[in-house]
């Protein structure tokens, strides 16, 4: 019986490009920016990397398909480079590839890169794209806000929460993330906003207003992983290990059967339970030090607090309004600004979350550093739509935790 990934793999180095509207950069330049920081952190040479994974969701923008764009951008030494795509969870997917490669013993050192160049479309929001020839005949393409906004109508119905109460809780999510993003020099949006601004913003998809939606950004993030033993042999003393790495993928039950009520993420609940088990966490509300979740929209973050088994079902909105997830609350959520303000270059986001958790655990997060030294940090990276998605969870922590 497999025992899981816990403590088998250590993070040797991480890097993250400045996220935002990087009009002057191609995707390969953004990848290099993240790579150089990660390599300096890891203290290794390119020749020591055995294999690499590239996570990118919209490869039609800028780089094109396959692992070649990463190999060429970094001039990797003819090693295996695999491109992975799992919607917006592609970043954590590339991390999973590298971590599993090391854990299997096939590689000593592996690299995970997540990157996206979204600002080459000529319009705001995510690029419009096909979901397959048959889907396009019977499915809804819609927009991302339109798909996620539906959580709100279902959540209100299921839990009897008033429209204004939910809208206020959603607004609190965004105000909090903007306040956090203002302290992050790499964030796309670094400006604080008020409740009034959020509540009175133009409607994008009922009930999501402009500030309920995350930034659409260019960016890249990179992780270099190895075994804890090799990390120590390379001179690392402060070791951060992978405690859990879980991925749950919808099999169509939510969208096609009638058991799901539309107000939560079935996959996140499954992945969270498995991840806590893998990490040996029995009481996430007490044991998690901080979390980075897939806050593509304010309402997504809000229901995810329940799906991660931190807030009780139907009460996440109250915890949010109580400041439980604020930067100075018991479990800060998006202390770096999250997708909302750090930005959301799709393929990079999962690795960006792990990057922030890694910095926080090592005490390197600058002005936004959490003062009580974090032990377990969770990241949650979601791809798809509420009714059909992939949900990945990575928990990292101090090697001795």
């Amino acid at each position: 019986m497999a025992k899981g990934i816990r403590d088998k793999v250590a993070i040797l180095g991480m890097g993250c490009a400045k996220f935002g509207e990087r009009w002057d950069k191609d995707e390969d330049q953004l990848m290099l920016e993240a790579y150089e920081e990660a390599m300096a952190d890891a203290g290794i040479e390119a020749s020591q990397i055995d294999a690499a994974w590239l996570g990118a969701a919209f490869d039609a923008q800028n780089i094109g398909p396959s692992g070649i764009p990463l190999a060429v951008a970094l001039r990797l030494p003819d090693i295996g480079v695999t491109k992975v795509e799992n919607y917006c969870a592609s970043g954590t997917e590339s991390f999973r590839g590298a971590v599993y490669a090391v854990a299997s013993g096939a590689c000593d050192i592996a690299l995970a890169m997540g990157a996206e160049k979204l600002k080459d479309t000529g319009y705001g929001g995510l690029p419009v794209r096909t979901r397959g020839t048959t889907h396009d005949m019977v499915g809804i393409t819609g927009s991302a806000p339109g798909n996620f906004a539906q959580l709100a109508s279902a959540y209100r119905g299921v839990h009897g929460v008033g429209k204004d109460d939910l809208k206020r809780a959603m607004a609190h999510v965004s105000v909090k993330s903007h306040a956090n993003g203002a302290k992050n020099p790499k964030a796309h949006l670094q400006k604080a906003v008020t409740m009034d601004q959020v509540l009175n913003a133009p409607m994008i998809a009922e009930p999501l207003g402009l500030f309920d939606c995350c930034g659409v950004s260019d960016g890249a993030a990179c992780a270099i992983v190895t075994t804890p033993e090799i990390a120590r042999a390379l001179g690392k003393t402060d070791i951060v290990t992978v405690k859990a790495l879980q991925l749950a993928t919808s099999n169509g039950w939510e969208m096609q059967a009638q058991g799901w009520n539309g107000s939560y993420f079935h996959t996140t609940r499954v992945a969270a339970t498995k991840a806590y088990d893998e990490a040996g966490i029995t009481d996430p509300r007490a044991q998690l030090s901080l979390i980075e979740v897939h806050d593509c929209f304010s309402v997504t973050e809000l229901v995810t607090m329940e799906d991660l088994h931190i807030s009780k079902e139907g009460e996440g909105w109250r915890d949010v309004l109580d400041g439980f997830y604020d930067a100075d609350g018991p479990i800060p959520c998006q202390i770096d600004g999250g997708l909302k303000c750090f930005g959301h270059p799709i393929g990079a986001s999962g690795l960006r979350m792990i990057y922030e958790n890694y910095l926080q655990i090592l005490g390197r997060a600058g002005e936004r550093q959490r003062q009580d030294s974090p032990v377990f940090a969770l990241s949650h990276n979601l791809g798809g739509m509420p009714n059909q998605n992939v949900s990945s969870i990575a928990i990292i922590g101090r090697a001795d935790a």
């Binding site: 929001g125 019977v138 339109g146 906004a149 539906q150 109508s153 209100r156 119905g157 969208m255 539309g262």
Partner: protein, 479 residues
Amino acid sequence: MSEFGILSFGAYVPITRLQRSAIHATNSWFAGGLRGLAKGEKAVANWDEDSVTMALEAARDALQGIDRASVQRVAIASTTLPFADRQNAGIVKEALNLPDAVGAIDIAGSQRAATSALLAALGGNETTLVTAAEIATPKPASEREMTSGDAAAAVIVGTGTPIATLIASHSVTMDFVDHFRETGEAHDYDWEARWVRDEGFARIMNPAIAALLEKAGLEGGAIDDFLVPVAVRGVPEMLAKKAGIGEGAVADSLGATLGHAGAAHALVMLAAALESAQAGERILLASFGQGCDLLLFEVTAAIGSVKPRLGVSGWLARRIESNNYAKYLFHRGLLQLERGARAEHDSKTALTALWRNRKAVLGLVGGRCAKTGTVQFPKSEVSVNANDHTVGTQEDYPLAEVPAKVMTWTADALTYSPDPPSYYGNIDFVGGGRMMTEFTDFAGDALDVGADLRMMFRIKAFDENRGFRRYFWKAAPAF
């Protein structure tokens, strides 16, 4: 004893009623002479409707209580068929989920296409579903823009217990060109109305009506309902007077509430007449177009035994008033608006995939697991049932006529829609089955979770690069 005749009838009128005063308010500076026509309202199809989708709704209206398996042939009559080469009646057949062993025919080319289609069906011996639909694109500021309206109707002809039988008919064909529209052109070109009235309606139809009455051995006074689908004021009365048909027999041409639905209008008026007809009444339907078709029906004692789901009166009552002339112009392609880059998304249809999935796409046929009873859309080899992933057990399960309820919804202002915001969400079918779909014919700005829905066959997207349109089912507030 079984007889051959009309077994059932139905209609369809799009929900939006554009106020003619709103049209004139915009155009009066240019076409002040149309002021006299600037009253009442006209039915205008939504952006996602065409003659095929409207004919399909009329067919559903007529098929209320009728066994669909009894239909042997499907006909569609229209001068505005979406496809010049792809059988339009075949799309109607697929959307009705009829068995493959049926015939189909498209009839076009004249304002009397629908009556010619009906005559052909009445002259045969098959159970034929005759549909007719029209969606007009008149030039802005034209008289036609004021007088036309969009609608559809359907008549089922066959052996059984008819509600009306054809007792006489008469047709004449003469190449009298009162107006024309060449293939591929959007608009009609009209000749002087006075000439059309005097030399056309009067000189062609008066003797034809006399000839029909002689064939039937009847005087004009024997006609109880005189249906003349002509938009020109005074013409039906003039024809009635000449033929000795009583003034009270002249039927309302629905100009004030619907407009003139082109080639479909004859069947729309017939459907309206059959709604209130009494046993023994004689209905004379007289349609004009390069000659004329005259059909004389006698209503049987079975009238009342078959009713359309809504009928013309029911559809006319289902209405949303609109003063938004600009929106109508945009939806007809008569006004170019900046649609934004999101509208550039390519909607190419893989015809191979459409063929494989035609029952799901055109007929909204899902699957039901023979073992667990789980209903799902679309069908799949492995059942979605979480507790029993049976393989290869799914049987066809048509969902188009199954009521549904709103599960989640949104109003999406970001995604491109010709009618923003785009309303869509997850819906649950009563008795099982779930899908995410668009909402259409929706008047307010909010939906309620749990609200009742009825599925409607609509255009999903236009492939402007290749001249193709993709059809699928959407959910409308229940009616």
